[in-house]
Amino acid sequence: MSGWLRKSGQGSGVILIWLAGVLALWEAAAWYINDVAHVLAPASKLPYLHLVLEALANHWSTLAKQGIITFGNSITGFLIGAAVGVALAIAMSLSRAVELTLSPYMIASQMVPIIGLAPILYGIIHDPAMSRVLMAGYVTFFPVAINMLRGLKSIKPEQEELMRSYAASTWATYAKLRLMASLPGLFAGLKLSAPLAITASIIVELMGAPNGIGVLMLSSLYYGSSQVYMFWSTILMSVAIGLIWFLLVTLAERLLTPWQPEFRQQGGQEE
């Protein structure tokens, strides 16, 4: 346990240094653009970070409120999409026929650009919350299904023979072996789609929803230079939301699959 803490302590140390570096670089670049280079409308190219943070603090309640709307819908969609992905992966692992039938449709579904799909979907159902949920689910199910399926198929022939030697039912083989073996794949898919789900919801909002962080983003763009700090605040907010969600998924992975090589803390034991 102490090893784990030390390791993660080192990790967050590195992240802090890295973050401080990026922020310092941002301020330096903004200073160059705004006060040295004398470009036109410097703030819309790269505003001072401290001014963006000031806007973030001033409009915090609006940003948080809209952020929560976006976040809530995309998480609902993410969870539904993940459940669909898991169900598809299990069905495909149970039957080769199902896999061959579904794969082309699944792959084709990912060829549709979400930026084109979002307005169509919104035009059909005219419900901003539902559209956000559906789009988030739409981008989530595919990476989850593909990665989980790979996990389900990753078991070694001898592991399966072992379960057969116990006369284990299909259900028991899934419960004790396949599903457990597929967890690393499942989490790989979830981590891929976590930021995508947030982005997909924001895209729906850009296409004309009444609320959400994407709407703030769009309206602050309309008002040009007067709202430039607000615009950057919404960007920071979106990044923060995506990051929080990604970290939550990573934390769940660490708790549920502690046996994975990257979470191990000590080497092998000598006999």
Binding site: R164, S165, Y166, A167, K176, M180, G268, Q269, E271
Partner: protein, 266 residues
């Protein structure tokens, strides 16, 4: 060890052949193999790769079905034996589930059978003690050496107390010292439990050291070349390994091997 041998045939292998692959590209893994294995006997299947020894073990385990011929275990066909969990199997790789601790791995067969935790916890604890992993029962497989992992696999195979133990080159991936230790432990286990053990190996000294009888197989196609009776001695590992009789038997087995190769080339 040779006490019960005359009395009871436990496994009957009768004219068994196994052909893999589709028409036109068949590979004969086993060609009319017949022999019997007695109750509480330690039998090694010895041969070069491609002689079908692992295939034969999988036929006994009902993990494969023979193309022709018949296998009877007790009064039953292998399928019934598997469904009744009357054998335990150990592979060359320990095949532990990495998300389970030592104790949980050993309890897997009992869990699958549907026993209650309260019923099997004592059994797994006893098995953990028997294979000498008491201090490691809450460790995960990756925290163990290869030899310790294979001990877990053996304990797991014993957890339902099956009368038959099927082992597919269980020690061939281990270093010499670990191998030696585990061979002695296996003999101890057999002495304590009187299991019938079918042991696949490609090592002549290992087969000679462990077995009551050695079934020498030849390859392409896999056949039984000859079956040799071993005379097991009492004594320490070194005493047995250095004894004249051990060398005699090893030489005899080696000779049979040469004969089987000559037949192949003739």
């Amino acid at each position: 060890m040779s006490l019960g041998r005359e009395k009871e045939k436990e496994i009957r292998i009768d004219d068994v052949s196994m052909v893999f692959g589709r028409k036109g590209r068949e590979v004969t893994a086993l060609s009319s193999v017949s022999f019997d294995i007695y109750r509480s006997e330690f039998v090694s299947l010895l041969g070069p790769s491609g002689c079908g020894k692992s295939t034969l073990l999988r036929l006994l385990a009902d993990l494969l079905q023979p193309t022709s011929g018949r296998i009877t275990i007790g009064e039953e066909v292998p399928r019934e034996v598997r469904l009744k969990r009357k054998y335990g199997i150990v592979f060359q790789s320990p095949t532990l589930f990495e998300w389970r601790t030592v104790k949980d791995n050993i309890e897997l067969p009992m869990e699958v059978l549907g026993l209650k935790k309260s019923e099997y916890s004592a059994i797994s604890n006893r098995l953990i003690d028997m294979v000498g992993l008491t201090k490691f029962k809450d460790h995960y497989p990756w925290q163990l050496s290869g030899g310790m992992q294979q001990r877990v696999a053996i304990a797991r195979a014993l957890s339902l107390d099956p009368p038959i133990l099927l082992m597919d080159e269980p020690f061939s991936a281990l270093d010499e010292f670990t191998k030696e230790k585990l061979q002695l432990d296996l003999l101890d286990i057999q002495k304590q439990t009187n299991k019938t053990i079918v042991f696949v190996t490609h090592s002549i000294p290992e087969a000679v050291f462990l077995s009551d009888r050695v079934v020498i197989m030849s390859a392409h196609p896999g056949r039984v070349h000859s079956i040799l009776e071993m005379e097991r001695e009492e004594g320490s590992y070194e005493q047995i390994r250095n004894s004249g009789r051990f060398h005699e038997m090893t030489a005899k087995v080696r000779e049979c091997f040469q004969l089987s190769k000559q037949q192949l080339h003739a």
